[in-house]
Amino acid sequence: MRATRIAPRLAVIACLASACTGTTPVDSSIPPTQLTVFAASSLTKAFTQIGEDFHTVFPDVTVTFDFGSSTDLASQIQSEGTADVFASASDAAMDTVQSDPGVSDRTKFATNDLVIITPADDPGGIGSIDDLTKPGVKLVLGAQGVPVGDYAREALKNAGIEQEALANVVSNEDDDASVVGKITSGEADAAIVYSSDVAAVGDTVRSVEIPNDVNVVAIYPIAAVTGSKYPDQARSFVDYVGGTEGQDVLQQFGFGPPGG
């Protein structure tokens, strides 16, 4: 008895799972393309927007993203080879992928400098980069090897306060988004992140400029990954990011133009 009642439901579920292609009009002979883009976690909001825009221009291509630390993504591309496009927050991670499995159409598409962020109520009293050395300030950075962490250490070194500031570090986070999370949750007093992060999170954080002479500018490279099943679409995406529409979105999310 039971089985006979369940069977039709199973049929419905199976039909839903396979998207019941019988009812969908086939509008093109080209099968839809699922383009996989590996991108630095600082690009999360901007690229999500660009992915949607790209899909409107190229309706037969759906873009899915894997956001994470660039270093991490680079080693995943080497071991799994599942990415069609790689957008990195550092040249080093892109160099890794370029050496194996290889890339094409590599181009610089954005810049991003660093900024100090604090919770809106500024519990640590941070007014300048030098305040990061005040005793008791809870400072969060990206871990060593994570681009935002390496850039932050470089800026602290430029400011001549590397040792004192590093003594205040309470956590080395695995990617840029996690660093920002420690400030939006209000747990830490200060963090060094990308300027674009401030545009993305808005009023929940307060930002403190890092002077130009000590700041570090991250240059973001993008490229199509060799071995992709969709090299043409991958190149289209790379071009789109570098084109007017892509650049507009990136600037809206706080990134600088690739020229400087």
Binding site: V140, Q144, G145, V169, S171, D174
Partner: protein
């Protein structure tokens, strides 16, 4: 005499065993053994290992201290909402640890509903501290000792306790001298599982307590961070955890879990 197992069962069992054993085996095959001395003698590994032992043993102690009484109340207490309470208590077993970490943040973090008070009135901040790592680990691993103890209590012949009480033992005396010794093996088995789970805890710890060597960076976090800059070292650190966990489960686990 043992009955012969049907071939399909054996084949599927072999597949199941291979599924679990293969990845662990791969760690041994791919480990850069030449680097073993450097990794083991490195200050990072020993610091993380020591902290892991402290945190996991601390979490196990707290789990026993409050988890055993909790199991007793769940097994013997008659009050409305007991089923709901039990479900809530074992929830961390099925919850993604990162969700546990976020829940702990909004409860016990500096801006959390209780943590705010702790910070303002008592002057204590749990996030970014070893105590915070112990709390996150306890949250995730305690249900195991609760479940094991409760099942022990349910299997217990209550006549022993009634006899002890009839002979004039106070309820506290009976709990201590009759109940606890009789469920000892189950409590111990639960403690071993709790400890093993605590040793492997990652998500709740990094989310709630952060990642700092010597303070909150336990072995799993050290593995995660090493993977960015030293993938080979990450494999070796992983193997330390594997060997430690297997040693514990083989020497203690089998006997205590009632498997021969």
């Amino acid at each position: 005499m043992r009955s012969r197992l049907p071939l399909p069962v054996v084949a599927l069992a072999a597949l199941g065993a291979l599924f679990v054993v293969l990845p662990v085996l791969a760690l041994f095959v791919r480990a850069p053994w030449g680097q073993l001395g450097d990794t083991l003698s490195g200050v990072g590994a020993s610091t993380a290992l020591r902290l892991s032992l402290e945190v996991s043993l601390g979490a196990t102690a707290i789990s026993l201290l409050v988890g055993v009484p909790l199991a007793w109340v769940l097994a013997r207490g008659a009050f409305p909402g007991r089923a709901v309470l039990r479900a809530l208590v074992v929830l961390p077993i099925v919850l993604p640890p990162v969700v546990g970490g976020i829940a702990l943040l909004v409860a016990l973090g500096r801006g959390g509903i209780v943590g705010r008070w702790l910070y303002d009135v008592v002057g204590v901040q749990l996030t970014f501290t070893t105590a915070g790592a112990v709390i996150a680990t306890t949250f995730v691993s305690m249900p195991l000792v609760v479940l094991a103890t409760e099942s022990g209590l349910r299997g217990l012949d209550e006549r022993y306790e009634r006899a002890a009480a009839a002979m004039g033992g106070s309820s506290w005396y009976v709990f201590r001298r009759v109940t606890l010794p009789m469920i000892g093996p189950q409590v111990a088995a639960g403690a071993v599982l709790t400890w093993a789970r605590a040793l492997g805890e990652f998500g709740a710890t990094i989310t709630f307590a952060g990642n700092l060597a010597g303070r909150t960076q336990t072995m799993p976090l050290a593995v995660y961070e090493a993977r960015q800059v030293d993938p080979g070292g990450a494999i070796l650190l992983s193997l330390i955890l594997v060997v430690l966990s297997v040693a514990v489960l083989v020497t203690l686990g089998g006997r205590l879990l009632g498997v021969r």
